[in-house]
Symmetry: C2
Subunit: 343 residues, 2 copies
């Protein structure tokens, strides 16, 4: 692969090259990349705004995450925050801090992933800031979305008795990371061994190319269901449950046998001597939507193929219970990723 | 000063502490810090969006920039981008990457500066992301502003014969940086010598505590003047002139004797053996507004105490001329800061 140094292009040349070929997909985008700021016409809707910072060595390891996937995922994590408000993402702005280790071609790969996410989700990349960094890569993405004011859903607002629903399946992104880390350490010990990744296509895709659930936002709207509270699963189910509880002043009861797990994820957890349930509760980055609905809406969603009813809200704010498969109550702990390995 | 480690508070504890005492100043802010995203009601206006990334060792040096000033300036640089669209800033979101070198108290200082800027400019801090970093501090600020659609001004849109106007004075922030860098090297050689900063209060303030020209945006509106094109002076006058030229497909003629410089800045440039005009043309971070107006609006602004008429646009896009005090035409070069020292 050719290597073009960033200083050969200069800042404006680099921005021009990276943003080449951007097309406008949102009617709300009035002015995109290339001025002091972007201009968006919200046309009577509410604006939803969120930001995320990704730092090399903390959020990603370039020895096993391809730059294109990193760009894709950086955008998806942000789109997911907008979905969690029951809104649709419309524009992003991107800040990059880049060390001279990266060539123009490497940054083009990163942008390729960002542009692909924008294309698939019909989101416009409307601005950014590209600067140098003494070491490592840092990516800041800020996303803007739009929603009718009566459609917005926050983390608070659930009532006791509301049903807890989650989209898709859980724990796969975490198990994908375990596979990547194992292959990385195998590679360090024996660099000529080919990585054994084929068996793990699904969980690797969940880790490397996650999706934001705009489809769920759209389908809930079509089915005329407005969740009473909602959050996206970025830190793990247990942690997100606690956020919903705290924001609504309620307790929660989860049922272990209702938690959705893919069979590949289950088998891989066993292979790694990890508890599959703990992977669902504490593994993050699934970017599924966790939300509560009024029992009145149960019939509308009960047969929805992408949704699982996993528990309900209770009026005791100190109650944070998972009922195990054997019928025992255990207390939920939001221990995050570190907790899985210690646990 | 006490030192509290960030891990003692945890991510959510830290965010809670940093965002303590935030009050809502904008009626457009519906939902601020604490959910997946912030919600803003644009109430029929256009949304203006811009982002900036600041990296330790590239954009700031903590050995002479106090954290509170850094926080203030990080916000101001973004507000200035919104002013450059002839819009008013209303909300910001902040991303921080922090190494374990920083205590909770240090981050509170940084946030104190950000909160002060928000207070003075009546802007709401509505969200953010705080994460660890393997080394150094990085700050990403994204700002949102609002404007009536017929008030927005981009970089393009000037016509031949339009007058070029700049607010305030130029080159001071650059000279402030020179003083700080000199005192830093004196301090390295003789750590007991007290820094000689008192004589340079104005230019140090311009470097350490710059302001965004929301006042100019407001006054232009009151005077019913809509600029035909506008940009803020962050990289230096010459570079910004070239952006306006390129966006409008025009040339420019500047007059050296019309360029506004503060007398302290002039004297300090001489003391450092630097050409004061070059400091105005190539020194950045003044955050003044550079704009063009139709000659029809000249009478409305000619006696404005904060504005200088420094030149005009011409219909030859290859013309980039400064007429010197001696009446000679010289070609403008956008060489940035590096150019001043080489030149």
């Amino acid at each position: 692969m050719d290597r073009t140094e960033i200083q050969d292009l200069g800042e404006f040349g680099l921005i021009g090259k990276l943003t080449e070929g951007l097309v406008k997909r949102q009617p709300s985008t009035i002015l995109g990349v290339g001025d002091d700021a972007a201009v968006v016409d919200p046309a009577g809707k509410r604006v939803v705004l969120s930001t995320d910072m990704l730092v090399e060595g903390v959020h990603f390891d370039l020895s096993y995450v391809p730059l294109k996937h990193l760009g894709y995922k950086a955008v998806i994590a942000n789109l997911s925050d907008i979905c969690a408000m029951n809104a649709m993402p419309t524009q992003i702005v991107v800040g990059l801090g880049i060390s001279n280790r990266f060539s123009v071609e490497a940054l083009e790969e990163l942008y390729l992933g960002m542009k692909l996410a924008c294309e698939l989700y019909e989101v416009d990349l409307v601005g950014g800031d590209t600067t140098s960094s003494p070491s490592g890569l840092m990516i800041s993405v800020t996303v803007m979305g739009l929603a009718d004011s009566d459609k917005l859903v926050s983390r608070g607002g659930a009532k006791s008795g509301d049903l807890l629903v989650v989209s898709g399946d859980l724990g796969s992104a975490y198990m994908g990371l375990q596979v990547l880390e194992r292959e990385k350490s195998v590679f360090k010990d024996a660099p000529t061994v080919q990585p054994e990744l084929n068996d793990h296509a699904y969980i690797l895709e969940r880790q490397l190319k996650p999706e934001a659930r705009t489809d769920i936002v759209r389908e809930l709207s079509d089915l005329e269901v407005k969740p009473t509270s909602m959050i996206d699963v970025s830190d793990g189910l247990a942690s997100e449950c606690m956020h919903l509880m705290a924001a609504s002043g309620l307790g929660v009861r989860l049922y272990e046998d209702k938690l959705p797990i893919d069979s590949k994820t289950y088998d891989t957890a066993r292979e790694f001597n990890l508890d599959p349930t703990l992977c669902m509760l504490s593994g993050g980055e699934d970017y599924e939507l966790l939300f509560t609905i009024s029992p009145d809406d149960y019939e509308k969603l009960r047969n929805h193929p992408k949704l699982s009813f996993i528990g309900h809200m209770t009026d005791n704010p100190d109650e944070r219970i998972m009922v195990t498969k054997s019928g025992t109550d255990v207390e939920l702990k939001a221990q995050g990723w570190d907790g899985i390995k210690k646990g």
